[in-house]
């Protein structure tokens, strides 16, 4: 019932953050520290890989939204990819699928991230 985050630097200011486990009220802080710092003083482009994330609650959605706001402000980019159906459903219910960029797979996500550059 924990969260593991793996940060992969793809190039200059390009990152891929791999999430594994659960994001709930207990682990949301961990996600916040791993994700939000990426935009500090740079226009970072970040792909968050949801492939291995089993569960996300509103506490996690809150961090994702905060990350999206930072990316917007810093002319960076936030891209989500490979959401499991249950997780995707939660995003759907929150209306986030309409306002966030979501790629179906990691490969597509990486391609989109490169495109934007």
């Amino acid at each position: 019932m924990t969260l593991a985050t793996t940060l992969e630097t793809l190039g200059e200011n390009r990152h891929c953050l791999r999430l594994e486990g659960r994001v709930d009220s207990l682990t949301a802080t961990q996600l916040e520290q791993a994700l939000l710092g990426l935009w500090d003083g740079a226009e970072a482009r970040v792909l968050v890989d949801f492939q291995a994330l089993d569960y996300i609650s509103s506490a996690g959605l809150r961090i994702i939204l905060m990350a999206a706001k930072r990316a917007l402000r810093g002319r960076g980019r936030l891209l989500l990819c490979a959401l499991q159906p249950r997780v995707a459903e939660v995003f759907e219910m929150s209306g986030f699928l309409k306002i966030l960029d979501v790629a179906a797979t990691r490969e597509l996500g990486l391609a989109q991230l490169a495109e934007a550059a």
């Binding site: 019932m1 659960r22 709930d24 009220s25 207990l26 569960y55 609650s57 509103s58 506490a59 959605l61 809150r62 939204l65 905060m66 999206a68 706001k69 917007l72 249950r86 939660v90 219910m93 929150s94 209306g95 309409k98 306002i99 966030l100």
Partner: protein, 809 residues
């Protein structure tokens, strides 16, 4: 007084008869016994003294005779020694004696004839040669070694002991005297031997049965009628003396042994010792000996007689007197027994009658033949019997009179009691009748009440009052005190409460109004504790106020039992102007509400243990959701009856409200501490539980856990329960359509759904506010979300249908 004690009194430990017998025997026989004993002792002493005297006299007579014999023989020897013829014969030279020999011989023969007791007469010359002897065979023999010669030759008149030894074949006594010339020169010795038989002949003169015998200075028996006694010693001889005696050869060999006669060991002859010596013979027989010392010899004569000879007549006298005593004693005994019985029988008869009187058996006591027989007696016993009879008759008369009176009174009392009991019974029926027997029910709810009074008239009551708007007023009350006055007060209370309930809406106000009215008309200072609540079926709400009464017990559908809060307000009738705080419980389907009086909690087992609040909560928890309230009341009353196993100590009143459970089924419950970590634990447990119930159920785990996560995260982060706060509880139940969840958050008094506005999903990233999504997610995940907030916290009900949209069997 029990019959056992009466029986004991009839049988004294020492009966009167026994005492009379003992007294008579003692009074008559004791002096007789004493007198006869004294007489016997006196005669015994007289006989003994007479016997002793005659024994002594006889002994003295025998001793005198022996003395006379010895004296006579002594004189004879002296005369022989002084005889002229003898002197001349011995003075003549040996050759010149022939002429005188015949004359001397003749003289000796003459003496011999005159004294037949003599064995021999001798004349010896100074050399100890027999010169003239009555036995011619001895003539010329020498006897210079014999003591009788030596002693006489020394110039002494000598008498020997009674000798019998190697030198003397027959026992004899030797007498010797010196023969002197005119010039005093020793011419020779004259000697005589006296036959011992002569002495024995004297001893044999003793009376038949007596024994006379002689004892010498050494304690040797020298003459005795029985040969076996002769020359034996009475005591133990000194060894030196014994050796000297033996060496003298005067006594036969094998003698000188002790006779062993107890009592005579120390007797010695010639000591002048006289008197009486009782002793035991060698065969153990008792003898009495009279000792008389002789004058002429160092001998003592003993005359002995067996004691039995003079005791025999006394013994027969003693036996005769004993026989007489026994005969007299037997006669006395019979007489005493007869007297004793004559004395004790009337007493026993009277005691028996008195005991019967005590038992109340008058006829048997007064008509007893033994008692009637005593009436004619002219002595004290007769008087006592008559007094006893009169007393018994008097007691009987009084008893009879008293009994009659008691019967009359008892009958009157019974009548009165029956009348009062009938009235009380009627009153009780009336009291029960004024309590509602038909209970209202509506769609989805039902209620039921019961009141069991401890005595005929109870002080408890309940009421169900239909109110405007389909609402229902519920009352449970307990009047202080019991019996008729409490019942009256109860009726008044009930009426006042009903009036106030119809007039006012808020339970607190109703109680306050009832209190004002009661205080105004309460002369006996009664008070009543009341729980009044209003059930609003439309809103599933129960609002109540308590006047010093127990809070209601609520059982939620999942099985959680809690007592509603109370404010410790005063009972009605105590203080004017009291106000009453209200509390609300939100009821849901399957909930059960129980109102009761303290007769339930305080019901006592035969061991004195109270039923108690814990047992009552356990009982309530074991009900099924939506149970019939009538069944619940009956169950609890039965359980209390079994617990008390006897008469109830207090009134018991119950009122039960049950909300129907639309989808009955078992609930699974979890209870966890109010911490964020508990959310993950609960999620895992719910997931496992759902996984085990098929794919459709498993598919509900995600939305269910997400919803619980959001709700609990909010409650814990915003509600901030204190450390050690009550745990939150989750109940889950699957029915044919989907999953029902019930979440109880005891520390929160907030409807989360009412507080959270729905988010505007149309806003872009920049405009979207961060947060506020949690409850939106819950609403999206669940098909139904409801929250009830009441005095016990927040109760959230969630419902989620199976995803496939199909109803399950």
């Amino acid at each position: 007084m029990g019959p056992v004690m009466a029986e004991e009194r009839l049988r004294p430990r020492v009966s009167l008869t026994l005492k009379v017998v003992a007294l008579l025997l003692l009074a008559a026989l004791l002096p007789m016994l004493l007198v006869s004993q004294l007489q016997l002792r006196g005669s015994l002493e007289a006989v003994q003294s007479a016997e002793e005297k005659s024994l002594l006299l006889e002994g003295q007579s025998l001793a005198r005779q022996v003395d006379q014999l010895l004296e006579h023989k002594r004189q004879t020897v002296l005369m022989l020694a002084e005889h002229r013829l003898v002197q001349d014969f011995l003075a003549a030279p040996p050759g010149g004696r022939q002429s005188l020999a015949a004359a001397v011989q003749g003289h000796l023969q003459l003496l011999m004839r005159g004294n037949p007791e003599f064995a021999n007469l001798y004349l010896l010359d100074p050399q100890g040669v027999f010169v003239a002897v009555t036995d011619p065979e001895l003539l010329g023999e020498r006897r210079q070694f014999r003591e009788y010669f030596q002693r006489a030759a020394a110039g002494e008149m000598y008498v020997s002991n009674l000798l019998m030894g190697i030198r003397t074949p027959e026992p004899g006594v030797y007498f010797s005297a010196p023969v002197r010339g005119a010039d005093g020169a020793l011419l020779g010795v004259a000697a005589v031997e006296l036959q011992g038989a002569a002495i024995e002949a004297i001893l044999a003169r003793a009376t038949s049965g007596h024994q006379a015998f002689l004892v010498d200075q050494d304690g040797l028996v020298i003459s005795h009628p029985e040969a076996a006694w002769r020359y034996r010693s009475l005591g133990q001889l000194d060894p030196a003396r014994a050796a000297a005696i033996r060496a003298s050869g005067y006594f036969p060999d094998g003698t000188l042994t002790p006779l062993g006669l107890a009592g005579l060991e120390n007797l010695r002859g010639g000591t002048g010792q006289g008197g009486f010596f009782p002793y035991r013979g060698s065969d153990g027989e008792a003898w009495l000996a009279a000792a008389t010392p002789l004058q002429r010899q160092t001998w003592t004569l003993l005359l002995a007689e067996p004691e039995r000879l003079f005791r025999a007549p006394l013994d027969s006298l003693f036996q005769r007197s004993l026989g007489f005593l026994a005969l007299a004693g037997l006669g006395l005994l019979l007489l005493a027994v007869a007297w004793g019985r004559a004395l004790s029988r009337p007493l026993l008869a009277m005691t028996e009658s008195a005991a019967r009187l005590q038992r109340g058996d008058y006829a048997a006591a007064l008509e007893a033949p033994a008692l009637l027989a005593l009436d004619g007696r002219r002595d004290e016993l007769g008087t006592l019997a008559r007094v006893l009879r009169h007393m018994g008759e008097e007691v009987y008369r009084r008893e009879f009179h008293l009994d009659q009176q008691v019967r009359v009174r008892t009958a009157e009392l019974e009548q009165a009691h029956a009348r009062v009991a009938g009235e009380l019974c009627l009153a009780r029926e009336m009291q029960q009748a004024i309590l509602p027997q038909d209970f209202p029910r509506g769609p989805g709810w039902a209620c039921h009440g019961a009141m069991i009074p401890a005595r005929e008239m109870g002080g408890d009551f309940y009421d169900c009052i239909p109110l405007a708007g389909g609402r229902l007023g519920l009352v449970v009350a307990d009047v202080s005190g019991k019996g008729v006055p409490a019942a009256f007060f109860m009726a008044v209370c009930r009426t006042l409460l009903e009036e106030a309930a119809r007039e006012l809406e808020a339970p607190g106000a109703v109680l306050a109004r009832a209190n004002e009215l009661l205080c105004a008309r309460n002369p006996l200072a009664f008070f009543v504790t009341v729980l009044y609540g209003v059930f609003d079926p439309a809103r599933g709400r129960f609002t109540y106020a308590s006047a010093g009464h127990h809070p209601p017990l609520l059982r939620r559908a999942p099985g959680w039992v809690s007592a509603g809060p109370t404010a410790c307000d005063l009972a009605l009738g105590v203080l004017e102007g009291a106000d009453y705080q209200e509390f609300t419980l939100q009821l849901g389907p399957g909930d059960l509400l129980l109102l009761s009086t303290d007769g339930v909690d305080e019901a006592c087992s035969p061991q004195g243990e109270q039923f108690g609040a814990v047992r009552l909560q356990q009982w309530l928890a074991a009900r099924a959701p939506g149970a019939d309230p009538g069944d619940c009341c009956r169950d609890l009353l039965q359980e209390l009856g079994e617990y008390e196993a006897g008469e109830a100590a207090d009134d018991v009143t119950l009122l039960c409200l049950s909300l129907t459970d639309p989808a009955p089924g078992a609930w699974q419950c979890w209870e966890l501490p109010p911490r964020l970590e508990s959310i993950g634990v609960l999620a895992r447990a719910l997931e496992i539980w759902l996984d085990a119930r098929g794919a459709a159920a498993a598919g509900l785990a995600y939305p269910a856990n997400l919803s619980l996560d959001e709700l609990l995260t909010n409650a814990i982060t915003h509600g901030q329960p204190a450390d050690g706060a009550a745990p939150f509880r989750l109940g889950a139940r699957l029915d044919s359509v989907g999953l029902a969840l019930q979440l109880h958050i005891p520390w929160q008094r907030l409807d989360p759904f009412a507080a959270a506005p729905a988010p505007d999903l149309s806003l872009g990233v920049a405009a979207r506010p961060v947060g506020g999504l949690g409850l939106h997610l819950v609403r999206c995940c669940m098909d139904r979300c409801e929250a009830r907030v009441d005095a016990l916290g927040t109760w959230i009900e969630l419902y989620k249908r199976f995803n496939d949209g199909k109803d399950r069997p």
